[in-house]
Symmetry: D5
Subunit: 93 residues, 10 copies
Amino acid sequence: MIFHVRMDVDLPTDLDPQQRDEMVAREKRYSQELQRAGKWPHIWRIVGEYANYSIFDVESNDELHQILSGLPLFPYMVIEVTPLAKHPSDIRD
Amino acid sequence: MIFHVRMDVDLPTDLDPQQRDEMVAREKRYSQELQRAGKWPHIWRIVGEYANYSIFDVESNDELHQILSGLPLFPYMVIEVTPLAKHPSDIRD
Amino acid sequence: MIFHVRMDVDLPTDLDPQQRDEMVAREKRYSQELQRAGKWPHIWRIVGEYANYSIFDVESNDELHQILSGLPLFPYMVIEVTPLAKHPSDIRD
Amino acid sequence: MIFHVRMDVDLPTDLDPQQRDEMVAREKRYSQELQRAGKWPHIWRIVGEYANYSIFDVESNDELHQILSGLPLFPYMVIEVTPLAKHPSDIRD
Amino acid sequence: MIFHVRMDVDLPTDLDPQQRDEMVAREKRYSQELQRAGKWPHIWRIVGEYANYSIFDVESNDELHQILSGLPLFPYMVIEVTPLAKHPSDIRD
Amino acid sequence: MIFHVRMDVDLPTDLDPQQRDEMVAREKRYSQELQRAGKWPHIWRIVGEYANYSIFDVESNDELHQILSGLPLFPYMVIEVTPLAKHPSDIRD
Amino acid sequence: MIFHVRMDVDLPTDLDPQQRDEMVAREKRYSQELQRAGKWPHIWRIVGEYANYSIFDVESNDELHQILSGLPLFPYMVIEVTPLAKHPSDIRD
Amino acid sequence: MIFHVRMDVDLPTDLDPQQRDEMVAREKRYSQELQRAGKWPHIWRIVGEYANYSIFDVESNDELHQILSGLPLFPYMVIEVTPLAKHPSDIRD
Amino acid sequence: MIFHVRMDVDLPTDLDPQQRDEMVAREKRYSQELQRAGKWPHIWRIVGEYANYSIFDVESNDELHQILSGLPLFPYMVIEVTPLAKHPSDIRD
Amino acid sequence: MIFHVRMDVDLPTDLDPQQRDEMVAREKRYSQELQRAGKWPHIWRIVGEYANYSIFDVESNDELHQILSGLPLFPYMVIEVTPLAKHPSDIRD
């Protein structure tokens, strides 16, 4: 099942730089494992913002919440999830 | 270049049914030609709404506006465009 | 899978009363069939508004969109869907 | 009487982890006692958010406020209450 | 139980004047009967707007919805209901 | 003259508990004196929120501002004032 | 007593031009009588909009509502009223 | 003096096509005369919308309002004006 | 040229009281000098809020920005500027 | 390709003044280099706000994001990007 997700990150500007770098690195590894597993097929940066639009392909709402709430940056994010369905004009089966 | 587009359609409820069907059929053909040409790689229905999230891959802002303003349903749509960039966590080249 | 849905109905005040009654009656039958099938386990009226909060239990996003877009009052509704997951404090298995 | 409640939790990211765990554990016990007493028949996690939609079944507005303002996480929550009525399409008596 | 209600009226400007006067007169009688019955203890005009703030004192959410949805101007109104509880600083018993 | 006032209180969660209790106690005395003087005829708690709807009966805008800006919790409040007029359906003289 | 008022006018584009001119002319006379009487000391056009910011100086909320609801264009307006008090930095007595 | 202006056009979908074309053509001539006169130095289409961002260079607020309210499409537009000042980082004198 | 300005002040509640008093006193002197110079002809307190509506009469957008950004409380303010024009119903020349 | 960008800056009021001055100076140099390179053809101050409207002329969305995320004040900014196209009324080729 396909979901559209917008994530906005708001890291405190006085965060310890090393702690910040480690969190961002962990976030990257976490995301890339899910991309390789086919669960997170798309991630795009929104131009000019510390934010992304992503597409997730998961078995259930519960799996999606488990993935999102496990993001290393989850406590610093605002996340908005929109369920998607097949569009009647979509040329793919 | 990649753009994220949300389209909300609001057809008048008293529209002539035949006119409506013809417009929607033209919209579908228009969309599918652009999908086949690689300009409109993704279109998803937003669950419960007469709306879609789409991804466009075009040469320029002008080309994108030409495509969107040429949509048969354009006079009945609210469209919101967001430019996208490559995300540093994206595993694709 | 569980979804939270808010539906706001806006019928034109100059709608033919008989047409209105027939549509509302069809909406009621449609809803009750889905309630009996277990797909629409809860529907509550929002006090003071021509609107409801509902809970749907469906197999997929696509099934939910098929149900919602088939509502007889769909052209007169604004619908907002929120995917739900099991809450860690929920006492039910 | 039935009420729809949305709760959004915003815990400071620099909260002492032990204090945080204790508060969340107290919140869970508090919620589960009310669930067992039939006052809080439904609680669902909103996917991707530290938030829930809940249904309360109480005797009065005053009882509901007493319950909500007694939540251990109340000082960190934004809560929105909507009174519900029986829907004319509801198949239950 | 006490509820705070805001009602915004939006009558079409091309409504037949006689029909409008009759509806407004029926609305007034309906409101005054409920005021005399103690169900609608306060109604105030919001300065500069075709709107009011009202206080209702009813037995249940269902009774309130029955009252509000029976307003002769209900199809032309936007209504927002907020449940109220006793304030700890209130000097009345 | 009658005014509708909404007050939302937002006390910092790390406020010294004794300071907090003293401020809240002063707020209560301040409110009750004005209630007894007939200046603040109604105060209701909004269910689920640290907020109230109040009705003030004062001689002038200036008097109302003097009262509101003198609230012990004023620096922690968001206040919204709406002037009210007699409603043509009001049964009281 | 001083009030700040914003008025937004939305005349239907298919209004009969003569009817429109007469209404606008009546609005102008109505406004100018109140300006001469000192009740409406300021009126400014908001640049680029069919809207104004105005200052009213009246005896009471009821008088203000009577004035505003009597505007010939009232049925086509959205009006927002804000009560004003003397500012402590104001150099006028 | 420099002003930033956003114009959103909303033409009724049932407008007579010839009337529409004539209005749009008049709008274009009106805009181009002002561009040539240096009053309207920039106009850009917002991608995907029947809207533009424009920059005006005028003598006064009154002149700007005269220009904007004289637009042939003015009755069908929502216009928002923002006054601009020289930015301290601007490299132009 | 006339401008409408709304200023909302948000001073941190933990600001040193002496520093606060000095800033507010400087703000007052700054405002009163501009009032005496005719640049700031009106300032009104918004009832119940730490905010004001003001009218400025300046030579240019640049002069207005210089005045506003020089306010001693500028770093603690949200300011919104609206350009005004002469209203056709205004009785003053 | 042309983009419209709004930047709102929110520097903490307790920032070390020297650190603040250095950051603002670096921001200025960064902006002026891009202006001289033709990438940032316009920057205007929004009157009364610590904000600007800017026009960028870049090769791609990716280049724009690289420029914006490299701004020395980026961690303290809210940025909103709107893609622009040639307007049919624009007199320039």
